[in-house]
Amino acid sequence: MQTPLALLQPAHGAARRPGFIGWLLIAPLIAWLVAFVVIPALILLVYSFCQRDELGELVFSFSLENYWRVFGYVHDESGAFAWDPTYLQIFGRSLGCAGLTTILCVLIGYPVAWTLGRAPDSRRNLLLTLVMIPFWTSFLIRTYAWIIILSENGLLNGLLQYSRLISEPFPMLYTPGAVIVGLVYSYLPFMILPIYGSVEKLDNSIVEAALDLGAGPLQAFLNVILPLTRPGVLAGILLVFIPAMGMFAISDLMGGKRVPLIGNVIQDQFSGQARDWPFGSALGMSVVVLFSIAFWLGTRRQPES
């Protein structure tokens, strides 16, 4: 089975070692990765084992304290461990939100991608453009548009009241639901496009062969279409789940302070009131480890190939 990363590689290209020119061409990418990914990650790693003093300044002394806090153990006044799962809960909520967002994106995105991929060439470009149009406006403006739609005296409540379906404004903004709506809306194109790529490559006669051999539409989907478009779905899951897990702006704007996600907590440690860089680093590292595991699960080569 193809892994999602295989989508990015030439289908039958033999693995070649890059020559001198090759190294020269990827040198900027490597420099970029080292400067902005590897070094910051190492700094984060070092910070996560440090402490801070009362003023919030960094103190270089090795301790596992920050990781204990992440997993819910804090020292109370007497110095003994106490159980406070606040951050685990936020972790859980973030996982739940990102997971639910990913599931909804698959459920909404797959049919859309299928329609796109099977549309006649003449209409396909128009439909693809429609998927991309949201990117033409700023992310913040789009999020504020949702706030206008969902707020207490916003468009949706107004419409529902006008049509007498409800008499009192229904609280929609600043709920977990609003956060999910915002996340799904923002990340849906990242699900649609890779699935579209897989669907478009799928030879129609293979689908017809399945129907010809007696598979009904559902059987054909489960036995042929889904396995053959799985690389696109997996790529979409990675592209949606990982950023949804780290997102803080949407939960901030659409969830208010009521639905903080792990991204909000981390942001608070670095630039907010909490000002605890070592703890923020430990939270950050935990997320990185989580992603690495998810990524490994998603891209691991299936034994069958």
Partner: protein, 357 residues
């Protein structure tokens, strides 16, 4: 077994199929033969259920299936591109149809084994389609369709992707399988030789219509239209005037100095202006005037040596040009050369009066 009744198919304003009636008999090998774009695939897709006719109906084994989806029809298709499932092994590809029927595992395994033996793919069970040659893929596609024991097997130019040698081998093998299993085959090709060698009957398709339906010999020796005469083999298509009836024959005047007798068909032609077809190999050349009927004189204009055959262009004094094909003589014997005067003889039965379109 398969019946198309007055079937018409339109794509937008384009008439792909125009009022086709076709009755495929149980157990026969019927070939749809025609040039690219004439509507062969569209006809097959209406039988398998991937396209619905705009008008008319499709019948399978006496049942109207016009509105049944493909997975409810007891027909199977071998696709032109094979359309194997790339993520499944040979074995899984072949067993796919039986798994869809939810048969017991043991039965599936047994039938897959015999299907693999039937098409001689032993040893390749665990390969993926990507690891097979063109001929092997072809066999997988065949086994995958046959294992479902369809009433009718549809084959859309199944051999066109194979090289000449493999194609000949597969032609024989397909024919053998069809005889052995007694399944009705509807076979599509644009290759006239393939059609002539394999078919019980051939339906010649042109521009969405069936021009002629008959066995290989009838299609070759008694083409009914200029299209059929030209598409299957080569033919001299000539205009002629009926100038009289002599016994069971009509006297035809093709050009001045070229008058021939042809058997008077039943029913007799209603007009005196007719179109006839004469195959190049049915014109016999001699250096002396033969004694039989249907002879005329001509001059060799061009000669082309083609190995087993010798192809000549000849012209009569009145300007009528004809193609002639003769078996190559041995190097010692006299052949005809450019500029030679020759006598041409054509047997009356070898002149075919065509249907006017």
């Amino acid at each position: 077994m398969v019946e198309l009744r007055n079937v018409t198919k339109k794509f937008g304003n384009f008439h792909a199929i125009r009022g086709v009636d076709l009755n495929v008999r149980a157990g026969e090998f019927l070939t749809l033969l025609g040039p690219s774009g004439c509507g062969k695939t569209t006809l097959l897709r209406m039988i398998s259920g991937f396209d619905a006719p705009t008008e008319g109906s499709v019948w399978l084994g006496g049942e109207d299936v016009t509105h049944l989806p493909p997975y409810r029809r007891n027909v199977n298709q071998v696709f032109q591109s094979y359309a194997l499932f790339p993520h499944l092994t040979v074995e899984e590809n072949i067993g796919f149809g039986l798994r869809m029927q939810k048969l017991p595992r043991l039965e599936i395994a047994g039938r897959v084994q015999s299907a693999i033996a039937l098409v001689s793919l032993q040893g390749l069970e665990a390969r993926k389609p990507g690891q097979l040659s063109g001929g092997q893929r072809q066999r997988v596609a065949l086994a995958r369709a046959l294992i479902c024991q369809p009433k009718v097997l549809l084959l859309d130019e199944p051999l066109s992707a194979l090289d000449a040698k493999l194609r000949h081998q597969m032609q024989g093998e397909l024919k053998r399988l069809q005889k052995m299993l007694g399944i009705t085959f509807v076979f599509v090709t644009h290759d006239q030789e393939e059609a002539l060698t394999m078919s019980d009957r051939i339906a010649v398709v042109n521009q969405g219509r069936i021009e002629q339906l008959g066995d290989s010999a009838a299609i070759y020796h008694a083409p009914q239209t200029a299209f059929v005469a030209n598409f299957i083999g080569r033919a001299n298509i000539l205009e002629a005037n009926a100038v009289g009836v002599e016994g069971g024959f009509i006297r035809l005047r093709i050009a001045s100095g070229v008058e021939v007798l042809v058997p008077n068909p039943n029913p007799s032609p209603t007009t005196s202006r007719l179109v006839v077809s004469i195959r190049p190999e049915k014109i016999h050349l001699q250096s002396q005037r033969p004694t039989q009927e249907n002879v005329f004189e001509a001059v060799v204009e061009e000669e082309l040596f083609k190995g087993p055959t010798h192809q000549l262009e000849i012209k009569t004094a009145s300007g009528l040009s004809l193609s002639v094909m003769a078996a190559s003589q041995s190097i010692m014997q006299t052949a005809f050369h450019k500029g030679d005067r020759v006598w041409c003889a054509v047997h009356p039965n070898d002149i075919v009066i065509l249907r006017a379109d």
